[in-house]
Amino acid sequence: MMQVPVDISPWLAIPVALLLICGSIITLVGTLGLLRLPHFYQRIHGPAITITFGAGSFLLASMLYFTVLQQRLVIHELLISAFIMLTAPVTAMLLMRTAVYRDLRNGRQRPDIKPETPAASGQATTAEVKQHRPDGENK
């Protein structure tokens, strides 16, 4: 099954195992937050820890393992980490803008703000958005 070499040294096995266990627990915690948190604006904070710390731990473990195993510098995992670091904020920002836009368009309030007159402020924001997009796509 697994192709782990028999005579692997403890100086390699212990850090790699620690990084793997740390990264997997962080990944699990992030997705648990995605499942358990009550509103979308809180839920989007869950996977951020998966993307940064979880993926970072796994990539570091992979770099360490292959560098020692192949006895040369194997750092092309840095490509993935740079790509993830560049693209994760873009995706999160687009999704958050989408959520705000759709909530305004549907006349829903953000769940953590308690408006004093909910119906009036909801109507106002909906009318404002409809004025901004006059073709009347209020799905």
């Binding site: 266990i21 699990l28 796994f58 999704l95």
Partner: protein, 92 residues
């Protein structure tokens, strides 16, 4: 020491698969469409992590390219879905 690394690899594979199952639950359950897109994005990231884990398990560098491809396609699909949800069209 071989046993320690194997146990760590099995444990992390179990955790990543469990994380993918939790994302799947949110994907099926999510009350709004943006919840589903967020769950799909996290599912792509977990798949990338699983490819990296397979690479460490089988001591092969081929899985690195799988992980790279999964990260690329995941980003493109998430951005396209988010743009579609916002505007109703992807390329304006």
């Amino acid at each position: 020491m071989k046993l320690l690394l194997e146990i760590a690899l099995y444990f992390s594979q179990f955790c990543v698969v469990l994380a993918m199952l939790l994302c799947m639950l949110r994907l099926l359950k999510g009350p709004t469409a943006q919840d589903r897109v967020l769950a799909l994005d996290t599912l792509w990231i977990c798949a990338m992590l699983f490819a990296l884990l397979l690479g460490i398990s089988f001591a092969s560098l081929v899985y690195f390219e799988w992980a790279m491809l999964i990260a690329l396609t995941g980003f493109v699909s998430s951005v396209a879905l988010a743009k579609f949800l916002m505007r109703g069209e992807i390329i304006e």
